[in-house]
Point group: C2
Chain length 273, copies 2
DNA sequence: GCTTGACTCTCCCCCCGCGGGAGGGTCGAG
DNA sequence: CTCGACCCTCCCGCGGGGGGAGAGTCAAGC
């Protein structure tokens, strides 16, 4: 027979704080079995202890309260498992990010990078096949893979050979506001017929300040910084979205230290130099 | 020559948002090289780009802004490395906790635990050597190790043999308020002479509801819950801090599944049975 | 019955690390 | 001079609670 417990006793049994239990009541995550309408006193039952324990486990995994509520509310155990699996996947992602950050930090502490070669060049207009969309920063990697796959397949189907390395035009809002317009493109010699999300797109001729970034993209802000410094110190105006070209990328090798990414920053006045 | 950048340009170069840069200015983490006193316009220099990059790395590791400021403000590189190492240690701790939580969750989802044997017994008064202190939950593990080491050494020095398994008296505030009084004790036959933090302490006789928890302490709230249920469903009053006894623990084996921990909850009225 | 001390209630403000938006000033090119 | 792009400050919000004020409740002991 489940027996009733005051909030203090329930707190002791579950190792939650009273404040936390009240909060869980407020948000509807763990509602007391009964609430005295006159005094407002909360009464829990021993049958609620297992629920509290599940909540504790999921909180230990930093699962948001809303998601926990969804797990507890799921009727079928399959749906439950799915929600939990999704959260574990997110955790793995965070872990990978952390590991990358540790590596990058170690790198940064090891010493300043070798001076990076920056050049200035006039890029002619490019005919390309492209996939354009407004994407969230969080979904960038997945979207990118999908877009590239679609481009590849379309070019192959139309028997068009790429006329250069894959690239992207990146709206800066993608970083400052977590979402922005992104165009992934492949230069082509012959015009592509639009299929699915793939469209033909002409990239205008621009003046570019260009740096080639070597290695993993976890480090790429160093090259961005070097480029910004170069441009700013020569008092050149910057204009328009950045172009990236993936000279050597995941498509070519899984050894990230071999990757080569060209970053091109459109500038609108040539340096006196 | 460092050149000046508006906040928007600096944001582009570092991939921080303008909001974030303003926030860093407010809290003093990354102060613009100059601020126009008339307009309030912030101006950064290219010399600040590397600093921004370090901040980015450390934020990727979820280091609090205050700690980052401390790292940047540290004069000697040694102090810097130490701060960072400390943070990495915290990250490792969090990782271990997450892994434990995953394991515990899997366990919990696998099915309900075998019915746990709970008994009720009269515990006689115990003469013990103890270390008592108010500790933070976060430092519990470290403090515990230290206290046990000190107890061991003291008993060995005084040639006193332990008269039972190591135990602890745990104030519940430790869990509900993140800090509380904790006493680690070893029962002894002969009185111990106080040395360092070690004192002689008599534990009063009590009536205990007792459960033996099997396995890792990550799971221990399940046993707490079972015990609370047992006690509550028989309408027995609960009184005073919990006693734990580490029958088989880290001291005996590193295989956590073999650990045995006795949890004793003082009760003040016997069950009708 | 009354007192006392332990519980419990609600309500409001605080923490971090920003994001969103209102409402208004500034800058430079045409 | 005007336009659009920048930039400013100020206030509110999130999630997951902690801290504390001020007031009401409960049960044991006298």
């Amino acid at each position: 027979m489940p027996a009733a417990l005051g909030i203090g006793e329930f707190a002791k049994a579950t190792h939650f704080s009273i404040k936390t239990l009240r909060h869980y009541h407020d948000v509807g995550l763990l509602v007391p079995a009964q609430v005295d309408p006159a005094t407002g006193y909360r009464r829990y039952t021993t049958a609620q202890l297992p629920t509290a324990q599940v909540i504790r486990r999921l909180r230990d995994l930093d699962m948001p309260l809303d998601d926990i509520a969804a797990v507890l509310g799921a009727d079928e155990p399959g749906a439950r498992a799915q929600l939990i699996a999704a959260h574990l996947a997110r955790l793995e992602g965070a872990l990978a990010k952390t590991q990358a950050a540790v590596a990058a930090l170690r790198d940064l502490l090891a010493g300043p990078p070798a001076a990076l070669a920056i050049e200035h060049r006039s890029e002619p207009a490019i005919e390309a096949a492209a996939v354009v969309a407004t994407v969230e920063l969080a979904e960038l990697a997945v979207w990118f893979q999908g877009a590239i796959g679609e481009l590849d397949a379309t070019l192959a189907a139309q028997r068009i050979a790429p006329a250069g390395a894959i690239g992207a035009v990146v709206d800066d809002a993608l970083f400052s506001a977590e979402r922005g317009e992104l165009a992934v493109f492949v230069p082509v010699g012959a015009p592509v017929r639009p299929v699915g999300r793939v469209v033909a797109r002409a990239l205008p001729a621009v003046e570019l300040a260009v740096i080639v970034h070597r290695g993993s993209h976890a480090d790429i802000d160093r090259s961005y910084g070097a480029l910004a410094r170069f441009v700013a110190e020569r008092a050149i105006g910057v204009d328009g979205p950045v172009r990236e070209r993936y000279l050597v990328s995941r498509r070519d090798t899984s050894d990230e230290s071999c990757w080569r990414t060209e970053i091109g920053w459109p500038i609108f006045r040539t340096a006196p130099r």
